[in-house]
Symmetry: none
């Protein structure tokens, strides 16, 4: 469409790449501590130990930082779990799939706490909506891919709805998981698995009357 942005790819120097990583790291930290909305580009630059101008050499605005951060998170998510998930055999019991998936997602969130901050995004539609949605959509997409083989008879619409519900449940549960530690955290993880299993299991029943 329009080429206003990114007119030319402009080669990046190694130093620049490092700065970008540094800035994204700083942004992640700031987003986590103050939230996306309240985070300021100046604070991010300060956290990264660079001047405001430097930040703007790499990102046109705060949203672009969140976008890039989201992209990298999604990419790493794919890298880390995408391959691991492929070999899921159709016969794998749902319980195991859920357990593995929740464990992975929780693990991922613990290693990248900013994921949570970005998921909730701005308090409000509008700013950053598209990226917020992009992260969301990616997550939903992954869940859809995961669920589809289990629900061959379901309509696309239903799968979409179910996947969204799962992600919604996951978000609700994650908040609790991250708010606790140790054994209590584990307990919440288990509860989350229970919720998801009990929610999804009956749906499978419908699809695979001969299942189990």
């Amino acid at each position: 469409m329009e080429q206003t942005a990114d007119e030319r790819p402009r080669r990046r120097q190694a130093r620049g790449e490092r700065r970008i990583a540094q800035l994204l790291e700083a942004a992640a930290s700031v987003f986590c501590t103050t939230g996306y909305t309240a985070a300021s580009t100046n604070a991010i630059a300060r956290e990264a130990g660079v001047s405001p101008g430097t930040l703007y050499q790499f990102f046109p605005n705060k949203e672009a930082i969140a976008v890039e951060l989201s992209d990298r998170l999604m990419h790493e998510m794919r890298e880390t779990y995408g391959k691991a998930l492929r070999p899921i055999a159709p016969e794998t019991p749902l319980e195991e799939v859920i357990a593995a998936t929740v464990d992975r997602f929780v693990d991922f969130n613990c290693r990248h706490p900013v994921f949570f901050a970005l998921m909730h995004g701005p308090d409000v539609p509008g700013a950053m909506a598209q990226e917020h949605d992009a992260l969301h959509a990616a997550l939903i997409g992954r869940v859809e891919a995961l669920l589809t083989p289990f629900l061959p008879d379901a309509r696309t619409e239903e799968i979409a709805r179910t996947s969204r519900m799962c992600v919604g449940i996951y978000k609700g549960g994650l908040e609790l998981i991250l708010a606790h530690e140790g054994a209590e955290r584990e307990a919440y993880v288990q509860e989350l698995k229970n919720v998801l299993f009990r929610y999804l299991d009956p749906l499978l029943m419908d699809s695979y009357p001969l299942g189990v």
Copy 2:
């Protein structure tokens, strides 16, 4: 003299009450459209049609507005549903309880969209944390009260955990419900009920093996 003295304060208070209600209404509107973090007191005052100074005559700061708003919401929630819930007979099937509760909560949220904004509150711990938690805690308390009769054998801890999970699920589901309209919204409402029922039903089984 004494009559006037008797009346004046009343009038003042009456006017004050109207002002406060006006301001809270405006705040609700602004919180909904811009989110709590991005909302500005000036914007609230403008929306209320008063000057900034007037706002600060009734509230010491932005957070106090959110606090009062939350308090009133919680109060109304109690007023509206508290009484209605009391006559719940222990024999009432869980399914009905859940359906009624979800319907009521969803209805409440639709009538007070700011509830959702306040629930999510600032993206982050810090500002308004206590109030955010107060709303939360109130909600959890209600759910605990609702669940306890169904889970007489459960330990307090478990009830707390389960209630929190329910609230977490509810929040996740509500976001989806509010994001859709018409039939699709209804479908999500039903899904939310399903999730909660399937999650809670087995717990009851344990408690009331002979139940229902």
Copy 3:
């Protein structure tokens, strides 16, 4: 059309009016010394001895300041010369009309040097274009009104063109006048009168073959 701005007239306090005058005076000063484009709102506020926030309580941006300043200048121009010009008798010799008009305009410019800065406006079309044009248009309008009785046979188009030329000439001459002082300035004033007279006189000849 749209009511986005100036939703309610908001009463102004006396203090506010004084501040506005003060700010406009400061703006005039800054526009004169740095030019419109390079003038900064902070510099204007500083010059006025107030904080940036105060400036923005009265003006939404730099352009609005220029607009208001222009409006007031135009208003004063009307106040000062509008009445004085009315009694121009048709028999008044062109030479006198020009001399009086130039003297008045020059005098006005000397008392309000910012007029010149605003006339030239931003270096470029775009920003402030409309206001720049408004000042211009007002000036041209005045000249048209002045010329029309002298050129009864001319088409509107021609009068417009002639008036624009006169204003253009005037602007060119004014720059020279303001750049000099004392006798030299007077000499340029005289030259400007000469130019205008010699330009316009032949046009009258055509109209009033029996004139003079």
Copy 4:
């Protein structure tokens, strides 16, 4: 070795010349669209397709770019019209001289729109004042040279004043000419010629009472 040493510098200079031309072209474009004051060196570099660092390898600052641009414009003006003007015979009627000169200047301005931007320069004394004046002075010098043979009796001072007036008139007229197109533009060109002719013709009369 020496050959390469001989060639390299040349190539470098050739490349440098190209770069400079490229940068000046870009600067002309940016000055035209945003005006001198608002033009940024970064924007010029971007327009030229080079990095900011490269720009500063050839020009110490923004003003130097304008200076060099002006110099080249003046040079081209001399190249193009200087020779053409020389053979002006003293008997050439003033009308023709003016017509030819105006046509040439207008033509020049249409081919180099940046000339106009530089003529007006920064709105204000200060930055770039000297260069602004240099362009101006050059223009005035040319007009003086043009007028002197027609006004042999006039004092230097008067010639200077008259020339400045002509340039001032020209600037005023040029703005109108550039603001219009087609037939209307032509009409303004004609008006400008008229103004200048009527202004200057009587001066000649004084000098050459027996002239023509």
